[in-house]
Amino acid sequence: MSIAASPSSLEALPAPALRRAGAVARRRRVGRRRPPLALVAPAVVGAAAAVVPLWYLADRATSQGWSEVADELWQRRTLDLVVRSLALAGVVTALCVVIGVAAAWLVARADLPGRRVWQVALALPLAIPSYVSAFAWVSWKPWLAGFRGAVLVLVLASYPYVYLPVLAALRRLDPAHEEVARSLGWTPRKVVLLLTLRQVRPAIVAGALLVALYVLSDFGAVATMRFEAFTWVIYGAYRAGFNPAQAAILGTVLVAVAVVIVALEAHVRGSASFTRLGAGAPRPSRPLPLGRWRVAAVAFLVVVLAAAIAFPVAQVVHWMRRGADTGFDVARVASAVGATLRLSALAALAALAVAVPIGVLAARFRQRYVHVLERSTYVAHGLPGIVIAISLVFVGVRLLRPIYQETPLLVLAYVVLFLPLAVGTVRSSVEQLPVGLEEVARSLGHSPARVLARVTVPLAAPGLAAGAALVFLATMKELPATLLLRPTGTETLATELWKATSISDYAAAGPYALAIILLAAVPTALLSGLLTARADGPGDALP
């Protein structure tokens, strides 16, 4: 029996039920049946919502005629922008792979002191908004501004996108392979490079995809670091140039780049070999003694965490103390916390509801259109938030006027923005479930919808929870769509933070920045906690 090791983005945080069932996922029989309408219909609706921004882009980009499009594209500047953004995405992704894989391997395989603490802590940088850490760094050392500063901040902000899936994949691997290799006289280094890394390659590639798309769409870090990436210019075209056509043309280029990256990921992943596992659950591996490298390994992780978490948090506290005499409005912070939690929870639930049919389809069926449906949710992920926000203004005010600038449309914007985070986790967690259970349920006369509700979703629950947690996290930090689409009078932590920084009042910004970080740490810890839960499961041989 074979299992595809982690074929999707953010890795499935595996179901304990899986092990209780004493089975591993099987691919046989998958993909020959026709997908049930009960899944296809909602999946099509969800994917259609995700590509709404593309419709808007196409409409606006050509609004001034095709010659304008040609003029805008046929410029040295546009090519430069593509090169600059790709260079940034390439360097950041490469560094994230190095740091994320190294950290995951150390936590999963090495005799690191306090492994559980490291495991949770290494995911925490996801809780720090890139604009906060970028400002923390550049206000301390202005010479960081530019390419290197953008690389620094984006690597520290996004390596967990590689670390988490790789860690999950390592935990799921059967250590028997590595033990056999070692018994055959391979050095530990050779085992890691030639065997372990190959086995988790799909997880690495999937994580790298999310990092690359995140870098392409990020505005906060590149703006604060004054690196002229695509997003910076697109923002400029909207808010200083009132040139939606130009912004849309450049946005379309960004979409094209994202499509190429998504296709590239599918290609690289598609050629990856499946990992063969024996029947039954993998036995947790024995920690590998690091020996004299132990100190170096700990030092490496300490440096990463100090730069990614301790430094920005310390800077935020420093701003607050500098403005301590002015004090801050506790009720206002509390109300922003309430609004943020409410909107993030709604977004997480809505994204999950849309992601379940798409993710289940992608996991269980191989039809070409299923593939297109799933991939289409990724494309908008490479677009900057302002483009998604403006496109929903465009659509909302025309077609959905009753909910324009009301909570439902804002939640829809979050779903469009962050759907891939949930689709990826749903897909990979369902992929690990044995198809047989669903087939048994079907043979007992349950409808596909009932099988989904009673078998698939409960078994994949931890993975679904992780997907929801990721969307929750991303929503908390989101700014541009929140600013344009929030209900009048609603202020979130991110909009309050923006208000303070837009008038350069960093002391007032402190409490909001700190509240975002502290609140975001909860779902982040939950993400790693879902991983830990598995390691602590029955039969766990970890000390």
Binding site: R226, A240, F242, V397, R401, Y404, T488, S502, S504
Partner: protein
């Protein structure tokens, strides 16, 4: 048949004319009656700054004000995207450029003459679609040790001694408004010549004017091209530790452009009377006094007292320029991009 159609057509036309007159009459009626209800304001000016004034307005008039804060440019882009369907009644912008863009798209309703005429002609739209409410002057903020004798005209900025020492905010609307002003005053070729010289100075780009000011105050750069009030805000917030100083520009120099924060009423407003009442209030004595006290900006209505740290507006002698001409931002951006100052 033909005659019948024509007759019906005439009847309809007559009905429309009558209805039109009726509308006008209604409009006059509501104009004399006290406006009420709810209005939505899109504000590029920060909530902390404007809210107390709006609360005061709401208390005095009974009109409920729904406040949506954001970046002026982003709100302008939002208004352009929303078009006729916008829920906004009033747009309160940080700069004339955003107002000009919305006005150019035909989304504003002309304001009553007695309102716009409160401010000098230079600080309002020629077609009365928007009016300035407070003025902000472009200055050179400088570090007293790094630049003890800063230039007071923009060509002085091109001297070799300032190479690599000037900060500016390339995407900032006020900077771009200055460049638009430069194009209006010196023509596109003249503006290009100056910008190429400026680009050759290797100026340092920042995301915001506040960051330019902070960099000057910290001594990272010697000169910064910003608006006048950034310095006074910093002094008010941080006290005497601030070392940076403002250099106001020589008479008529393009670098001393006076831009405005201002407001317009959306044509799509469903409560125009209340929207106009708000602009009336903001340009009235209470509104003007408020801006003078809170923001270190120049109140534009004559007779309002200016903050005492400021040189009088009348003494500045800014370049003679129609702010309505500042709406050609598209061309400005193209020029800036071309000389490498918007994108590198």
């Amino acid at each position: 048949m033909g005659r019948a159609t024509r007759t019906v057509g005439l009847l309809v036309a007559a009905a429309l004319v009558v209805a039109g007159c009726g509308d006008d009459d209604d409009g006059d009626d509501t104009g004399s009656a006290a406006p009420s209800g709810t209005i939505t304001i899109y504000s590029g000016r920060s909530e902390d700054l404007v809210k107390p004034l709006l609360d005061q307005f709401a208390a005095e008039t009974g009109i409920t004000v729904e406040f949506r804060g954001g970046d002026s440019g982003e709100l302008g882009a939002q208004l352009l995207t929303e078009g006729d369907a916008s829920p906004a009644d009033v747009f309160f912008s940080q700069d004339a450029g955003a107002l000009g863009a919305v006005s150019k798209a035909g989304l504003f309703e002309a304001l009553p003459a007695e309102l716009v005429e409160r401010v000098p002609e230079a600080y309002r739209a020629a077609d009365a679609t928007w009016m300035g409410l407070s003025g902000r002057v472009r200055v050179v903020v400088h570090h007293p040790e790094l630049a003890p004798a800063p230039p007071d005209h923009i060509d002085g900025l091109l001297a070799p001694e300032w190479k690599g020492k000037i900060g500016f905010a390339p995407t900032n609307a006020s900077w771009q408004a200055f460049v638009t002003g430069l194009r209006v005053l010196r023509g596109d070729d003249g503006a290009r010549a100056w910008l190429e010289g400026f680009a050759a100075q290797d100026p340092v780009a920042y995301e915001r004017n506040g960051a330019v000011r902070d960099a000057v105050d910290a001594g990272e750069i010697a000169l910064g091209l910003v608006n006048h009030y950034y310095l006074y805000e910093k002094i008010a917030a941080e006290g005497d530790g601030v070392v940076a100083e403002n250099q106001y520009m020589a008479a008529g120099d393009p670098g001393g452009l006076v831009n405005v924060a201002g407001a317009g009423v959306l044509a799509s407003s469903d409560n125009e009377a209340a929207a106009v009442a708000l602009v009336d209030y903001l340009s009235g004595p209470k509104g003007q006094a408020y801006f003078a006290e809170k923001t270190f900006e120049y109140p534009l209505v004559e007779g309002t007292v200016t903050a005492d740290v400021l040189p009088p507006l009348a003494d500045l002698d800014p370049p003679a320029l129609d702010l309505s001409d500042l709406d050609s931002l598209g061309e400005t951006q193209a020029l800036l991009a071309d000389v490498g100052l918007l994108t590198k």
